[in-house]
């Protein structure tokens, strides 16, 4: 068995609304830990968390590493390109070896979709998907939902637009699954070439005009544009993309007064968002980063055997 109930976090499709609510609730308590003078609780002392990454991703890696350390777990970094993959060993062989060393959790990032699932099937419990290809990035979607709930008090009933390259975005895919489950009205917006043709089956609306979502949305979530999409003929030009789907101060005037602007980062300033919008009062981009640590603490905590938050686990001072 794999999936959330079995001790893995692979895809938000495996989680119920209640599972998501438990994670968000637990994360709320852990967020406070990172604001303490001594930012550490002993909850996962003596546990080992390995970051097994085949793609460079500093921000996701350090967010998980900090989350694990603030729970007093030991951490290990394994970058696959700099390691024995050079000798032709497969990711699966490497993961089996890591498991044999009595590691408690493997956080996996891989450029190929499905690799975390393969590992979860072959290994015992303890795989977290930190992003696989264009498929899923469940912890990003959870931290996005946490941030929405924190800023707007709820998710249900909100109008949420996801803008940009939906086709290649694991962030979009996971957010769609999560947000729909939580009762939001999700609209996708982007160039026709970058929206999957049958995506409406997931329960979302689609539009090809930013204006359609600007006025009605409570949340505007922009995706990072990979500039190589132009070379791959998905885009006529970056400038054209920005004109149609980028957000600047002028366009923002059309939006709801309390709209929040989200982005998984790193922002291409001047492409998806103008600098003044990215750094402006509506932007919650750095809150997303802050909340990422809390949400990942909650996920590690819940997956490593605690079915609910034990208040004692918020006490104490780290390794004491």
């Amino acid at each position: 068995m794999i999936g959330w109930k079995a001790g893995d976090l692979l895809d938000l499709r495996d989680l119920t609304k209640e599972d998501i609510e438990l994670i968000l609730e637990t994360a709320k308590s852990f967020k406070e830990v990172s604001t303490r003078d001594i930012k550490k609780v002993p909850a996962l002392r003596g546990k080992t968390v390995v970051m097994l990454f085949s793609e460079p991703s500093t921000r996701t890696r350090i967010s998980f590493e900090l989350a694990a350390k603030r729970l007093s777990a030991d951490t290990l970094n394994v970058t696959v390109s700099a390691s024995s993959l050079l000798k032709g060993e497969s990711m699966l062989d490497m993961a089996k070896n890591i498991e044999a060393m009595n590691v408690d959790m493997i956080v996996v990032r891989h450029k190929s979709a499905g690799v975390p699932q393969i590992l979860a099937e072959a290994l015992g419990p303890g795989i977290i998907n930190a992003g696989d290809g264009c498929r899923a990035h469940p912890t990003q979607a959870l931290l996005d939902m946490f941030t929405i709930k924190e800023k707007l008090g709820k998710i249900e009933g909100l109008n949420i637009a996801i803008v940009g390259d939906i086709l290649h975005s694991r962030v979009a895919r996971s957010n769609i699954h999560g947000l729909i489950k939580m009762g939001a009205n999700v609209t996708l917006c982007g160039p026709t070439t970058l929206i999957p043709p049958d995506i409406e089956q997931e329960g979302v609306k689609v539009t090809y005009k930013l204006e359609d979502v600007l006025k009605i949305s409570d949340v505007l979530m922009f995706l990072r544009l990979q500039k190589e999409r132009q070379e791959e003929k998905y885009l006529s030009s970056i400038r054209e993309y920005t004109k149609l789907f980028g957000l600047n101060k002028e366009k923002l005037k059309m939006a709801k007064k309390n709209v929040i602007i989200m982005h998984p980062g790193p922002v291409n300033r001047g492409i998806e968002l103008s600098a003044d919008v990215a750094d402006g009062p509506q932007s919650v981009i750095l809150d997303q980063v802050t909340n990422g640590v809390a949400v990942r603490m909650a996920i590690l905590y819940l997956l490593l055997g605690k079915k609910e938050l034990v208040s004692d686990d918020l006490k104490g001072q780290g390794d004491s």
Copy 2:
């Protein structure tokens, strides 16, 4: 003075049978630590262990890193190719610098034979050889011996075959020294081009036919084949090698019922071992990986000043 008595682990030739027995016995106690809920003892709190590697070797590096962390030591990774060797500094200069920072133990992996010895001579105590060129890999041989003893109850008197590229294998070399010392009957098996001509002086037998060892061996230890050996003219073809020296389910029928199959990893599946044999019931390959952490905990513990295991050092919960 360098060598085991002086606080270094460079080559199994420096150790007596009693030294090896002490390590294996100590490792047995530490193995249990890695199965606890809190996999940590405070034995090496406040000690610093540096992994100084000039070759990528994820599995050996993380095995040592986990061993050190489970003893509550602090760990530091220094990869020489990614570091100031770029500026022309020698490994020796770097090691002297690390020593000057009051580090307690330097775990060294280098592609040139003899580098750990050079460091041990120039520095104070505290060098562990994690593999140098084709010369020695003592911790691998110790974990192999631990695994043999664990599975078969003893080493003395066993028939043990080492199969493959003996010539270039530090794993073979260290196992020969250790196993002979422990009283095993060791037979080497491989292509004539890959067995050193005068190796029988070490007290081993040599054969060029796998069948000779298949029937009589209690342990079949296969070595990883470097595919570049074909280009270097040591081999006519990989396929030929596998036909003559690879093990598959068919050939395994000839072996003793309780034979164990070992491999230092990573396995070239389909070359040294067929996948069903590598993953089959006779294979103890992942046990080797598990035991590697326990054996390295024992080595770190014994080298850092404890002459025997103090039972108090198995108590407690990590950093407390």
Copy 3:
């Protein structure tokens, strides 16, 4: 506000003589910690220190990492070339992200002068400059001053020569600012092409002959020569440079009997210093390395909120 008073260490020009004395005094107490059996105090438990490096620099990185660990802080390494800078994100964006994760201190090394200042202006307190371009390397100068005071009992009134490529040396620049402030008589010595034309305004003397400083100096501080300076036409030849500005046993006879030889490392043996001088009795090069950890412990400790050393912070055994 940025600078030492605000919680950053960017440049020794921001520090008063009293600030420097406080750091050196605090470092003295922390030096003793690294000689203990358990080299750890709990002073910064639950704090997080990130090493954000855009240049490979093993020795500075591990010195800071050890300093942080011996104060029981958690550490994270972020190498910018191996990370999301690949995706075009700026160092500033990365630093803002790291700050958003409630990190307490960012140690920054960057090949461009001014980057630590930019980060300090954009972020809250908590930036340490670990070397920026040719501009400043304040922690190196502080460990150099600590070593001088340790070996010679004082800094004030000493004759100190800095020899080599002053023009491109952040080490020289920071030492000039620190040593002048502490009352030393500083003379710069090197090829005319490698000494900035108006440097005497800083309060130093300049000479182009090594003999001028050999006889009178209490401290001879040699700088590492970048061999590419020859290609850049700053030097006629390396051999010529060594003849004029290198130190060997023969030339050393001209020096004061108690002179100390310093070098920030790694030494180009045979260029700046002959091997027998680099490893000889006058050399304090490895003392500099040892003291680097103590000085960085003091800096982390003082910047993270302790205005003076609390003696309780030297007690205890690490994470307990």
